[in-house]
Symmetry: C2
Subunit: 324 residues, 2 copies
């Protein structure tokens, strides 16, 4: 795996692949790679001739300096993980390479970005995300770029940007990868103390509770949200939002009438975690086997293998289907 630090190097490195019409896959990351990232690399490896991973902790999408400062950084370990997972090129630029003096352009998606994460983290968060992703897509010019369903709103916003700006790239959203106990993998999980790690399970349990209620016939958004909030309360996770929204527009729904996104953000101690699930009024979608949906029907068993070493992680099918 080659490590590239500049835009110019990256363009040169990709030129021959492009001329040979080899397909290029891009997995944008902020480093601190875990099984979720590795599942994206794995997927890109399976679908593309050349796999590029970008590693850039983008300062403009952090509204809180403290969050940026504390964001885990482990470049050398990340290089090894990316190489082992099958990346051909790692693009790891400096902040000056991405935002040189005089930089003054931003890409913004309105509407979708003022709610959920945008409401909590501020309008600048998604502007930072869309601007840097537009740059990465232009630098690498991949055929396919891979994003995780855990950041559901981010994936929806990026799809909107790509469609609106006629960017010639296919966006794939891939299932959330979870630890054996159901906690969604996240770079921020390392900040959790052992006791906080246990309390963080409130989040997948809240998703499971709402999924179970939906499978049991509950259609009221208020009731589904209440079921999720009750599970958060049980383990003292502090919800920032629990929202049932249309999966494309992120508009709130009052009744569950089609597959709908349940999105949760909660704080456990100092750590902010997000997660989501697709709730469906058709219980056969959310729950494949059991007529009494339980935790395992929400997150298929294969999700819960213990993954202590992310190098062993493989993409798994979750209830959120991988969609182009």
């Amino acid at each position: 795996m080659r490590v590239l630090r500049t835009v110019a190097q990256t363009r040169v490195a990709l030129q021959s692949a492009r001329l040979q019409d080899r397909t290029i896959g891009l997995v944008p990351t902020m480093g601190a790679l875990h099984g979720g990232h590795l599942s994206l690399i794995d997927r890109a490896r399976a679908e593309c001739d050349l796999v590029v991973v970008s590693l850039f902790v983008n300062p403009t999408q952090f509204e809180e300096n403290a969050d940026l400062d504390r964001y885990p950084r482990q470049q050398q370990h990340d290089h090894e993980l990316a190489a082992t997972a099958g990346a051909d090129l790692l693009f790891a630029p400096t902040a000056e390479e991405i935002y040189p003096d005089g930089f003054s352009t931003s890409v913004e998606v309105l509407g979708l970005t003022d709610r959920l994460e945008g409401a909590v983290r501020g309008a600048g968060h998604f502007r930072g995300v869309t601007t840097v992703v537009a740059k990465l897509l232009n630098i690498v010019a991949p055929d396919i770029a891979y994003f995780g369903q855990k950041d559901a709103q981010q994936a929806i916003v990026i799809r909107r940007m790509v469609e609106d700006l006629n960017m010639d790239v296919q966006i794939e959203t891939c299932p959330t990868v979870r630890d054996a106990d159901g906690l969604a993998m996240s770079s921020r999980n390392v900040r959790l103390s052992e006791r906080e790690r246990d309390r963080a399970l409130a989040i997948p349990r809240a998703l499971a509770a709402a999924t179970a209620a939906a499978a049991g016939g509950e259609r009221s958004a208020d009731a589904l949200i209440a079921a999720a909030r009750e599970a958060l309360r049980a383990l003292e996770a502090e919800p920032e939002y629990v929202a049932l929204v249309q999966a494309d527009t992120l508009d709130p729904v009052v009744r569950l009438e089609q597959p709908t996104l349940l999105a949760i953000a909660a704080r456990v101690g100092e750590t902010r975690l997000i997660d989501n699930a697709i709730l469906s009024p058709d219980s056969s979608v959310a729950s494949s086997a059991s007529s009494q949906p339980d935790f395992n029907s929400t997150f298929p068993a294969s999700q819960f293998e213990k993954q202590t070493d992310p190098r062993q992680a493989k993409p798994r099918e979750a209830q959120a289907t991988c969609s182009a």
Copy 2:
């Protein structure tokens, strides 16, 4: 010349050229083609294997509905002009094709856009320009895109966007093309009455007056601007701004110490016109032959051939050099 109405058609039409590694040139226009546009097409024809002209009156860059409504439209005539000038493809989409339902993304360059045209026309003007140009560049994916020096600020803003977003395209800014009497060609000139057409000459005369003053040794921005304003006043053109600014940052200068942009916007009757010149403290740059600079030294004689039929227009070298 093929006329294409959709993004999908355009992508397909350009696919084989791209696979054969033929170079693609794009000339973005809002139609009402005149000699200025034709000089850009001519230049693209000389430099690229395949020439694409886009024709789209972009509603989002008009802050005044009246200006949008009155913007001249002559599609059939434009098709003939573009074909005769050597365009291979004309991309002429509907507004719905460019801004479908749900469109919600914008590309914005800050700083450069809040002055001159941005200050008069509102912040939305350049946001409209950069968003639609980003789309056109993504749809056509040209090797080179051509813009006119008459819209100097627009060209500077687009260069900034392309650099900041790492768009893989070369931006060429080409000399302003003028009628025989010095008036810069503009789609809005057709709105001028005969008497207004005479008064509009105040603008090139104002540029010439300032250029002559600079060539005569004047270095004070105030004095150079006053010379230009005096010429505007003489023919009762109403200045919106007369500004001497750095040609890259658009920051105002107080003394002329390097080639610097003199930008003018003025109203003649109901019609708003803009024009500009590069002033230089080195009189040999602005004036090649005469030590007593006059009107013709500002605009080389070749600029002033009478062009009643824009089909005859050819690109000409003006004092603003065509730069990549």
